[in-house]
């Protein structure tokens, strides 16, 4: 291993940390009145960073096994980059009008990039120390960002709730890791289980460890923080939590379960089965009765996380490919929905479902984007969401999870109802006090356009799935 290797293999990490340091230096050097010039610099540098992450990566292990990467992990990081890029575009107006006057705009970007670098290290972790540091780095700054809207008490409340419960989750997870370490005597993922997978203490530690990750993906019954935090936090942070953070945690959960804890599959398959049923059902039932759009999407994203577990349960290269493919679609779909909510909130300050009545008459374009996103979330063909769910379900069916599949299909049917409610309100109803015609900024338009393009292209253009399958086949 030489220094050139370290620079080229870890180029994603170096580049994001470089941008972070550059912004920090900028904040220190630039005069207080000219801080607004850092916003285009941050976005521009991140566009370059995202473009660079599409250069395929190689399989490598660095730092004695603490850092490992391969083509699949590199692709996962690219997915996260695209998601963060969309969030950057969509939050541009909000940052300019709300954060900049308080001098918080640059901190928003710095913390966002710190979180992203934490997610890189989380995905590329080769041992539990790096895993835990990545886990913390990708959680704690989000808690601060959730409290960014200092004028609103709900935002502060969201931040405190997130930081307290995240602390509890990492405490439980750390306890689990220490128990597993007590049994195996090593923290490296390579050869972690080798001869110990039948020890009860290890299984006990593993369950505690799994609870910590389940908290981050907000699986039922570890989901209690999610609705309140999603509702109280600024929309950009809500989309960060419900899309990017969830995607990164799903990726690392899949990587760990399918490789490191492969021998424990008897234990985790049972646990995951129960979690999947609970998450799908309870997420859906609560989503039915929500009236706030953010809270509604929060419960819907809890339910979606339940579907993802089907792919992990199926396992193997096919299951892994369906999970990555579903997450890729989920990124565009959910960010599209959140983007529309952000655009309307920026303009009118409204986020209740009743306010959306008759939206089509005043804002036809925005409401069409939202309809497309909701169709995709519901899984209606020809939109991308249908294929994501279809591949997940067929992977689960291939492994014989028929009862689970029936429960999932029932849940999809229930979800159709509540996804169609706002669509009906927007398209078919008229309102006496409709939301006035909004004119979104160019940045927001680009963000929404990327989402729409993603939803359409992934639905109609099939080679993406076979590309992902090729990646996972070379991984497993």
């Amino acid at each position: 291993m030489n220094w050139i290797d370290i620079v080229t293999i870890m180029r994603d990490e170096w580049s994001i940390i470089g941008i972070l340091i550059l912004l920090l230096a900028g904040e220190i050097l630039v005069d207080k009145k000219q801080l607004s010039m850092l916003i285009p610099i941050a976005i521009g540098l991140f566009v370059l960073h995202t473009a660079m992450s599409f250069i395929p990566g190689d399989k490598a292990t660095l730092f004695g096994g603490m850092y490992r990467t391969n083509e699949m992990m590199h692709f996962m990081k690219a997915i996260l980059n695209v998601a963060v890029l969309i969030i950057l575009f969509q939050s541009y107006d909000w940052v300019k009008t709300t954060l900049l006057p308080n001098g918080m705009a640059n901190a928003f970007y710095m913390l966002l990039f710190a979180v992203l670098s934490g997610m890189y290290f989380l995905i590329s972790a080769g041992d539990f120390i790096m895993f835990f540091i990545g886990f913390e780095l990708s959680t704690l700054p989000i808690a601060a960002m959730a409290a960014f809207q200092l004028k609103e008490m709900r935002s502060t409340e969201a931040g405190i709730k997130l930081v307290l419960l995240a602390g509890l989750a990492s405490g439980i997870m750390l306890y689990g890791i220490s128990l597993m370490y007590a049994v195996t005597g090593t923290l490296y993922f390579d050869g972690f289980l080798s001869a110990y997978y039948h020890e009860p203490l290890l299984v006990f530690g593993f369950i505690l460890f799994l609870s910590g990750l389940a908290f981050k993906i907000s699986l039922v019954p570890f989901h209690f923080w999610a609705p309140d935090v999603y509702e109280g936090a600024p929309i950009a942070i809500t989309s960060l939590l419900s899309v990017v953070s969830k995607a990164a945690s799903v990726f690392i959960l899949m990587i760990l379960l399918l490789t490191v804890f492969k021998d424990l599959s008897d234990a985790w398959k049972m646990v995951l089965y129960i979690l999947a049923v609970l998450t799908m059902t309870i997420g859906n039932l609560f989503a039915l009765r929500q009236t706030n759009m953010k809270r509604f999407l929060a419960f819907s994203s809890i339910a979606q996380a339940g579907f993802i577990l089907l792919g992990i349960l199926a396992g193997g290269a096919v299951g892994a490919a369906t999970v990555i493919y579903f997450v890729l679609i989920y990124v565009f779909t959910n960010l599209g929905a959140f983007g529309v909510i952000q655009a309307i909130k920026d303009e009118s300050g409204k986020e209740d479902m009743t306010d959306y009545t008759g939206l089509y008459r005043t804002n036809p374009k925005l409401s069409l984007v939202l309809v497309l996103a909701l169709f995709s979330l519901a899984g209606i063909p020809p939109v991308a969401g249908f294929f994501g769910k279809f591949f997940l379900f067929s992977a689960a069916a291939g492994k014989g999870y028929y009862i689970l599949l029936i429960i999932a299909v029932i849940n999809v049917t229930i979800s159709l109802y509540y996804y169609l409610l706002p669509i009906r309100a927007m398209l078919l109803r008229t309102s006496d006090t409709p939301i006035p015609t909004t004119k979104s900024g160019n940045m927001m338009r680009i963000g929404l356009l990327i989402c729409v393009a993603g939803i359409m292209i992934l639905g109609l253009y099939s080679p993406v799935y076979s590309f992902v399958l090729g990646l996972t086949q070379s991984w497993l």
């Binding site: 291993m1 730092f63 004695g64 918080m104 901190a107 700054p141 601060a144 960002m145 008490m153 931040g159």
Partner: protein, 188 residues
């Protein structure tokens, strides 16, 4: 033998203090009991000859974090008041959960045969530092550097949250509005 006695004394102190810390209804007393737990933990480290770890436990936890907790308590309005005693249902459920946790852990720990680590533990600080700076097998240079990013994110987050609200708070104070708003009740 004597080691064993000291260990049990320290363990007893830890258990008693942590129980008192979670059951006390006066928040400042809880904090002081927690200090007892942290000190006893440092004692355990010293007992196992992990001197550097014990010193860190004292400086960071008993020193830094306790200062932080005490200041956080002093920031609140009702420092001297007692917390409300939780109702019976929550008490019973809480104790039940704790008992289940203790039982499971107890059986797991007693039935598992722990393998002692072969060889002496090299706990010299210089060895620790060399490991920390080593980048090959068994080295910890990557976590060491990533932690600096974590601490940096902590600095930025803390300053932004604490300082970002000030213009807005000043405006509120000028216009005579109350600076605190009661939080809305949540529905599930």
């Amino acid at each position: 033998m004597t080691e064993r006695i000291i260990f049990y004394i320290l363990a007893f102190i830890m258990i008693v203090f942590s129980l008192m810390s979670v059951t006390s209804t006066k928040i400042i007393r809880s904090a002081i009991y927690l200090l007892g737990v942290l000190m006893a933990t440092a004692g355990l480290y010293f007992l196992f000859n992990l001197n550097f770890l014990g010193a860190i436990q004292l400086t960071v936890y008993a020193g830094g974090i306790m200062v932080l907790i005490v200041i956080a308590i002093l920031l609140t309005h009702h420092v001297g008041f007692g917390l409300p005693v939780p109702d019976k249902k929550h008490m019973i459920l809480g104790w039940l959960a704790a008992m289940i946790g203790i039982t499971i852990s107890f059986f797991q720990f007693t039935t598992h045969t722990f393998k002692p680590k072969i060889g002496n533990l090299d706990d010299r600080v210089s060895k620790m530092g060399a490991d920390m700076l080593h980048y090959g097998d068994g080295g910890f240079v990557l976590p060491f550097e990533v932690i600096s990013i974590l601490l940096l994110a902590g600095i930025i987050a803390a300053i932004t949250i604490a300082k970002g609200g000030i213009p807005h708070l000043k405006k509120r104070l000028k216009s005579g509005q109350p600076t605190t708003v009661s939080s809305s009740t949540k529905k599930q």
